[in-house]
């Protein structure tokens, strides 16, 4: 479970599913840093990064451009995989006074205020939050001078989504926003930000745990060792690029259909072909065996 995360000295990418997080301000990150025992990564100089073995959190700074740059920096530094998850957590404003301060929302629609472009994270996973839309504005806003289509208003979500979607599939990207104000941010203190997020930290971590435990997959049919064997056979038999690809496809099929294939091709692992024609003969032989 994440709550027991330790100092984060072990290597991060060794088949462990990662949860990537981002907040725009340190004060939004603080409850997670404490709860998950995240440690500062002093190797990161451009942005503040905190991590343990399973979680990497980046503080993006305020505004959608900074946020997009930070997310790009994060995923360039730590390449995400298909079963990893990424979430943006932060406070937001709303014009709607029927929404209580402190309410946490899962965002199913992001509207970019400047361009009116819209983005939709894939809502595949169950969660325990209310859902709504968030509109990303370029400047701090007050309720008098702006028209909002989104229920919530923030300054990062559209930038984060656009950057993250270069690296991730839309179901891997989530936004949880906690309402902090009715577009009157001057009254919002740093401590209040931390307090609002802290109230939802357990709920958020519990959701992260649930998804993490229930969902993972490995996309490679052939192991690293098997790939090496195939490459050796391709080299030994002097197979062309196309024949090499066909060979790999046949082996993949065989493994899915029947299981282990190494016995069938073991005699070719150390075979040395004098010519391409000889290789072709072997290739035809292998095809007979595998398909």
């Amino acid at each position: 479970m994440f709550a027991s995360g330790s100092a984060g000295h072990s290597p991060l990418r060794e088949g462990i599913k990662m949860i990537f997080m981002c907040t725009s301000m340190y004060w939004e990150a603080l409850p997670f840093i404490k709860q998950l025992n995240l440690k500062r990564d002093f190797k990161s100089h451009k942005f503040e990064i905190f991590k343990n073995e399973e979680i990497i959190l980046i503080i993006t700074g305020i505004g959608k451009v900074k946020a997009a740059v930070a997310v790009t920096y994060l995923f360039s530094k730590y390449e995400p995989e298909d079963s990893d998850l990424f979430m943006n957590i932060g406070v937001c404003g709303t014009k709607n006074r029927n929404i209580a301060i402190g309410t946490a929302f899962f965002c199913n629609k992001i509207i970019e205020n400047d361009t009116k472009r819209t983005f939709y994270p894939d809502m595949l996973f169950k969660h325990t939050f209310e859902e709504t839309s968030v509109e990303t504005c370029s400047l701090v806003i007050n309720k008098e001078d702006i028209e909002l289509e989104g229920q919530l208003a923030d300054m990062e979500a559209s930038g984060i989504y656009q950057a993250a979607s270069v690296f991730l599939q839309p179901h891997q990207i989530s936004f949880i926003k906690v309402v902090s104000d009715y577009l009157n941010v001057e009254k919002l203190s740093k401590d209040k930000v931390s307090e609002l997020i802290e109230d939802k930290t357990v709920q958020i971590i519990s959701w992260m745990n649930e998804v993490k435990l229930g969902f993972s997959y490995e996309r490679n049919i052939l192991s690293q060792k098997e790939q090496e064997i195939l490459n050796r056979v391709i080299k030994n038999l002097k197979l062309s690029y196309t024949m090499g690809m066909q060979f790999k496809q046949m082996v993949t099929y065989y493994k899915l259909q029947y299981g282990d294939f190494t016995d069938l091709i073991s005699m070719y692992i150390d075979a040395e072909c004098g010519s391409k024609n000889e290789g072709k003969r072997y290739f035809a032989e292998i095809k007979q065996k595998l398909v």
Partner: protein, 342 residues
Amino acid sequence: MKGRDILQKLNKNLFNPCFSHIYIEKKALNHPNTKKILEHFREAEIIEINHYKDVFSRSNQNYSLQKNSLKLILAVKKEKLIYNGAQVCEDFGNIHFYYTSTMMNCIYDCEYCYLQGMYTTANIVIFVNIEDFFSEVENLLREHSVYLCISYDTDILAFENVIGYGRKWIDFAKKHENLKIEIRTKSANFKAIEDIDAQENVILAWTLSPDKVIKDYENRTPSLKERLLSINRAINKGWKVRLCFDPILYIKGWKENYKDLIETTFTELPGEKIYDVSIGVFRVPKDYLKIMRKQRFNSVILNYPFETVNGVCSYAEQLSENMISYVYEITKKYMPEEKIYI
């Protein structure tokens, strides 16, 4: 342990139920069909969108994961509504062969389905403005007769209880003698249109597969027995029924499986009352297969080392011929040759 057994760990309870979210184009919000559809999904989260492609065409979507939690997209389609029939599809001797998609994607989850190579998402689109599709067909009908397949890129009958498009198309066909429509399905949902009188110019086409294929590769579809019961009811009501043994898949024991399929089919159904039969092996455009393999990386069906001829991937010529002639020879015992299309 086979490769496909070691790859995935998915807790199905993790997923939102299908149609937990409905995306609706602003211009579709007030359409009567939208209101009708929403009556079936009162608990759904409604999300307004500008254009269906904003959701449908997002890059990098995971088709096979989305099948665990399908979403519905309601839209108004204004551009091209009717397409010329594709070359890889059987025209059954009809000259003016077209198809149309008032819906895109399907509630079923067939491992070999070409839609996962054709569309970027598994989510289902319903174009609520079916009246515009009718108008475009009427324009064509002023020029010549039309043979129109309305359930290729979807399964309209499987969704009949929600939107009733099968019924609407049948009513439309009733008014146009020079229109012939085919409604293709894997469902067992004839009961949804049972009260309608059989139409001379409507063909109900059922795709039939061996039970092993249904169980292993046609997730969520009705069993062969259920499909045959549904077909029998359609025949008894006087409907023209087409049987599609297509795609035939090269699986372990394919001969026994397809022999059983055909024998069971014609034990349960009166051959003399079947309108026609089509037979075909699995085939798919090369570009689609590439995407399909990426989406279903552990599929034994899709990872078969197919051969590519003119951009279409299928089994090697000799194997394809063997499979087709084997199925043809058995089918021939029950159906006159002129009613069997290959």
